[in-house]
Point group: C2
């Protein structure tokens, strides 16, 4: 999916919601365990119930990889089930030396190689340019680079400062010489709403993938206030608050209600 299509989808659906398919077999409703592939069955029902409210789905790959080869098959079936007009993010946080990152790109982008064909993949910037650019060789595929993450450990290294520039700022500045806003986004945690304003100045045109926002209108309002640009420029992710809104048989309906609530909040913001 290219930049214009993504922007158009946000306008049409009046939503910039990304739903995280962080599907943990220990947390899904018990009655699904009798299905041949309970993880896929859960995802299928979640997608059926929520796809009208979101513009992106983001499976975190760790949840699938923890089941080895069978997890990869659940992931593949899930990706195939996502409607084609929804942006897909492999939240994989990969990154290796050049030719090896090229193989990760094939893993997530090249259906003929791996069976997967995500629109985008999250990448960790620690190893620098040649660990990122192989992903950019695929047309209409995106790198979503970790900049300032939402976890407690984000302050250990990301805030390191040389002169006036913090590490995450250097990542954003430097990586803009590798790709435009039409092939790169940044991960910016919602726990740093004020910093979003600084980051927006550094990267005025780029989309930000913002994890760490719950159903709370408050933080969504803040993220929009500091992070939005003229084409929205935000994909705000919610995972557990939506997919585990209920752990009973009504989990899909509960997820739909939660997704709809966030979507309606987003619609107001977009007006």
């Amino acid at each position: 999916m290219n930049y214009n299509e993504l922007v158009e989808n946000i306008r049409t659906k009046k939503s910039f919601l990304c739903i995280g398919l962080d599907t943990d077999i220990k947390k899904i409703p018990q009655h699904l365990l009798s299905f041949p592939d309970p993880v896929f069955e859960f995802n299928k029902q979640i997608i059926d119930a929520t796809h009208q409210y979101c513009v992106a789905y983001k499976p975190n790959i760790a949840f699938y990889e923890s089941h080895g080869a069978s997890g990869w098959l659940s992931l593949q079936k899930t990706l195939e089930y996502i409607p084609k007009n929804i942006f897909t993010i492999a939240d994989a946080k990969r990154g290796d030396i050049g030719n090896t990152s090229g193989l990760y790109a094939r893993a997530f982008f090249d259906k003929s190689s791996s069976g997967l064909y995500f629109d985008s993949v999250t990448v960790a910037p620690y190893m620098g340019k040649d660990s990122v650019t192989p992903f950019l060789e695929f047309k209409n595929k995106w790198v979503i680079l970790l900049a300032l993450t939402s976890n407690s450990g984000s302050s250990d290294f990301q805030l390191m400062q040389e002169g006036n520039e913090k590490l995450y700022e250097r990542v954003i500045r430097t990586s803009q010489t590798w790709a435009t806003h039409e092939q790169m986004m940044y991960v910016v945690g919602a726990t740093h709403a004020e910093e979003l304003a600084i980051i927006r100045k550094l990267a005025p045109k780029h989309f930000f993938l913002v994890p760490g926002v719950g159903a709370q209108g408050g933080s969504l309002q803040e993220v929009a206030k500091y992070g939005m640009n003229e084409n929205c420029g935000l994909l705000v992710n919610s995972s557990r608050n939506i997919i585990y809104a209920s752990t009973e048989k009504d989990f899909a309906e509960a997820a739909a209600i939660e997704a709809k609530n966030i979507k309606e909040e987003m619609e107001k913001i977009l007006q």
Copy 2:
């Protein structure tokens, strides 16, 4: 495998060679393509031919993941085929927020979850403490943290400096508060031999995993000169120089000769 066992294996085998199983189906000898799992067949013959000369095997996960679920099965069979007294490294460069890194730990360490049971996994430090510590909860399992890598992009961010400290130095200093040398190693590229001396001062007891050394005695000598400690403290990796020493039917014999040459060089250094 614990620290003492690893040190003892190095003493017994008179080698600190790690062989990288970066098996690319496009590079393996043609005659293997008729086997049901050519990647596994290649690895099996390489392991048969080289295991007496090395103390560790390191499959880079990208090579397997690029084939999706079937790649994971090749990886699982390869791991099962590696003799039990050889240290195994999942070169995966993972790292995510706490509970998600816990799932990656299960992917690589917990046989009952994923089918895999590596001794160690390489981890990228960008997301900080809570992205690393979940891997340390597994007894006798190791984190090999990226510090100063061997690729050209390593200078983009790893050399960022605050005060007297570079980013990779901060990674080494800070991470030593998370685990001892009995559960953590560092990746230090052989292209930075002089820096090895600085890093050895920062982490006197830790093992370093050193990629980027060829069959050239020269750089191996340099790495040993600057990086060795009283328990050796080095795992020096060679991948392509060994496994693709020949691309014909004699690939395993050629790999054995190459591995033996490096091992004999190491034996002299250890004396």
